[in-house]
Symmetry: C2
Subunit: 359 residues, 2 copies
C-alpha cells in the first residue's frame, strides 16, 4: 500500500501535541500536501517546525483537497487524544476524505473500520480504512529464529516510556545509511507503522505472540538489509508494560542494544512511586535477560536532552551518560546519530558498514 | 457461576493425555458425575487414577446423563488436541449437553461461542458457552497496586513450560490451608480457570494488559485472604513466552517466589537449540528483574521428579536441588508441599500462618 500524497489531521494540537504528525513529516517519505488544524488555518508548517517539509495548514479536508487540485491519496490521523478515542469534530473531514476516494490511516484505539458509518462509506467508495493498531490475524508464537537472518539487528531499549526510542531508531537508520550501510527500521508502534506503511503493533498483539510478532517482521526483511534497527517499547522494569519490552527483547535476538534515556527522568512516567533503578542496573538486566536467548550487549547510548536548554550542559550530560553506561553516547536529535552508528559498527564487528551483506 | 455436578469430556485420552480433566478432578470442588472416553467405556476413574474422586467412564453424554438421573449442570471439555482445535467427533456430546440444559466450559483455542450451531442452540436453551481462554473486555493496564492488598503474595516461577507450576501452586494452597493459613489460588491459565470458575487467561490478553490482568485478580480477592498463590506461566528466558512470564512477575508484585523445575530438563521444551541457563542464573534474573517493582526472593523450590523412578534417587535429587538454589525444596506431588509452605512462612516473616489477616 502506498500513500504518497497525504493530508494529516492534527486539529487543535499542531505541532506541540501532534507527535504522530511530526513523526510522519520528519521520517516518512510521504509527500504532505497539508496539515489540518482549525486553530492555525492560514499558517504554514515551517512557521512552527523548521526541520521538516513545509506545507500549508488549513481548517478542513475540503480546503486541503481544493488546494491540492484533488491530488491526495490518503488522510492520516496525526494526533491521539488521551484514551485513543475518536473525536466527533473530526468526522466531517474523514467523511469528505473517504468520499474523495482517499484511504484513511489511523493509530487510534478506536478502530475506524468498526465505525458503521465509515465502514459503509469506505465500501461504497472502495477505499481502505487502515487501523494500524489492529494486529493482523496470522500472528503466532516465536520460533527463536530471528538470529538466522543475514542482517545484524540492533534494538533500542529504554529506561522508561517516552524517552525517545523511536526517534533514536530513525536517526540511527538515517546515519547508518549515510555511512553506506543498508539499514532498515522495524516498526513496533503505531507511529512507526504509519511512517513505514507496515509493521506489527506489538502492544496490541496477544501476549503469547509478543516475541513472535517481532520475529515475523525480522524474518520478513532481514535478508534484504545489512542492519535492522528494531524500535523498542516501554522498559524492562515498567510496572505495566514490561511484558511488551521483554517480548521484543527476546523476539528481536539483537546483536547490539542502544540504551535510551532522558535527562532528569528519575521515576517512571505516570507511575511516580516507582524509582528508576541505576543505569548500570538497566544494562545488567537487559544483557543478562537477553543472553540465554541471544548474547548481546549495550554498544551505545542515546540521551534525550530536550529538557536541557544550554548546549554546554547538554554536552556535559551526554559525556556523563556515556561514562556511566561505559559506551559511546549522543543525543541523536541534537547531534545526529553518527557517534552511535560508529559504536554499533565497532560493537558488532568490523564487517558491518563495508557495504553488502555482512555474513 | 457454579458448576457443581459435571461431566468431563476426555475421549480417547483419559487419563494420560487428559491434563485438564485430571486437574479439575484433583483440585476442583466440582462433583464429577462421569468422564466421557469412548475407548474406556465401562471402566472407572479409579481403575486408572487413585488420588481423585471416583466416577464412571462412559462413551457419550447421553449415557452419563441417564446414569446421573439428569442431575448434571455442565459439560467440561477436559482435553486439548495439539493446536487447540475442536474435534468434530465431540459435536454430538456438546449438542446433547446443551439440549439437556447444561453449560459448556472449554479451554480450547477454538471458541465454542463462535460456533454458529452451538451459539444458536445455547441461546435457545438458555445455557452458557464459557470459553475460558477468551479474555473479558474490561481488562486494562496495571497500576502497580498489587502490593497494596492485605494478603501476602507468592508466585510460582519456572525454568521452562510444563515443569509443574500449576500443580505446585495448588499443592501449596492445600498445604497452607492445612497449616491454618487462609490461602487462595490465582488462576492464570485455562486449566486453573476451569478449576476455579474464574480468572484471566494471561497468555491470551493484549500484551499491554499482561501485568494488568494479573493485578486485576489480585485486587479482586487480595483483601479476603492471608496468602495468594499466583500460578506462574512459561519462563523468563523462554524464546516465545517470556513476555507472559515477565508481565506476571511485575503484575503480581510477589513477596516470595517458588522456583519450579523438572529433573533432567536441560533444554527448552520444543526449542531444543536453547539451553536452560544454570539455576543460579534463573534466581538472579527473577529476583533482579522483580526488584525495581517489588523486592522479592526465591524462598523455596518445587522439583518435579516424575521422571525419577526410584524414591531414594528422587530424595537425592530434591536435596541437590535445594542446595543449588539455596532454599528448602520438595516435590509437591511426591511429598506434599508442607516443606514449601514452611519455607514461605519463614521467608515472608513470622506473622503469616498465625491465622487471620497478617498486616
Amino acid at each position: 500500500m502506498e500513500h504518497e500524497r497525504i493530508v494529516i489531521l492534527a486539529h487543535e494540537k499542531f505541532p506541540g501535541r501532534a507527535k504522530t504528525a511530526l513523526g510522519v513529516m520528519r521520517y516518512g517519505d510521504q509527500e504532505v500536501k497539508a496539515v489540518l488544524d482549525r486553530d492555525r488555518a492560514g499558517e504554514r508548517v515551517n512557521d512552527h517546525v523548521g526541520d521538516v517539509q513545509d506545507a500549508p495548514i488549513v481548517s478542513s479536508f475540503e480546503e486541503a483537497y481544493e488546494a491540492a487540485d484533488g491530488d491526495i491519496t490518503a488522510l492520516y490521523i496525526g494526533i491521539a487524544p488521551i484514551g485513543g478515542g475518536f473525536e466527533d469534530s473530526w468526522r466531517g473531514d474523514v467523511i469528505d476524505a473517504i468520499e474523495a476516494g482517499c484511504d484513511i490511516v489511523s493509530g487510534l484505539h478506536y478502530f475506524l473500520s468498526e465505525d458503521e458509518e465509515f465502514a459503509t462509506l469506505a465500501a461504497e467508495h472502495d477505499v481502505e480504512l487502515w487501523d494500524v493498531r489492529e494486529p493482523h490475524a496470522d500472528l503466532t508464537v516465536a520460533g527463536g529464529a530471528s538470529a538466522d537472518v543475514d542482517a545484524d539487528v540492533v534494538l533500542t531499549v529504554g529506561t522508561d516510556c517516552s524517552v525517545g526510542k523511536m526517534t533514536a531508531s530513525y536517526e540511527i537508520v538515517e546515519a547508518a545509511r549515510a555511512h553506506g550501510i543498508d539499514a532498515a527500521f522495524i516498526p513496533t508502534g503505531q507511529t512507526g507503522i504509519m511512517i513505514e506503511g507496515w509493521g506489527n503493533p506489538i502492544d496490541r498483539v496477544i501476549s503469547d505472540f509478543t516475541a513472535g510478532a517481532v520475529e515475523e517482521m525480522i524474518l520478513e526483511v532481514g535478508d534484504d538489509h545489512d542492519l535492522l534497527v528494531v524500535e523498542g517499547q516501554g522498559s524492562i522494569v515498567h510496572p505495566a508494560y514490561s511484558a511488551v519490552t521483554c517480548g521484543i527483547l527476546h523476539g528481536a535476538m539483537a546483536d547490539g542494544l542502544v540504551l535510551c534515556h532522558e535527562t532528569g527522568r528519575e521515576v517512571v512516567h505516570g507511575y511516580e512511586s516507582f524509582d528508576l533503578p541505576p543505569l548500570s542496573e538497566y544494562i545488567r538486566l537487559y544483557e543478562t535477560l537477553a543472553a540465554p536467548i541471544h548474547e548481546t550487549s549495550v554498544v551505545a547510548g542515546a540521551l534525550n536532552t530536550r529538557n536541557v536548554a544550554d548546549d554546554e550542559d547538554a554536552v556535559a550530560a551526554i559525556e556523563e551518560y556515556a561514562e556511566t553506561i561505559g559506551a559511546p553516547a549522543a543525543d541523536p536529535v541534537r547531534d545526529g546519530a553518527d557517534a552511535i552508528v560508529e559504536a554499533i559498527v565497532d560493537g558488532l564487528g568490523g564487517e558491518l558498514g563495508a557495504g553488502g551483506t555482512t555474513r
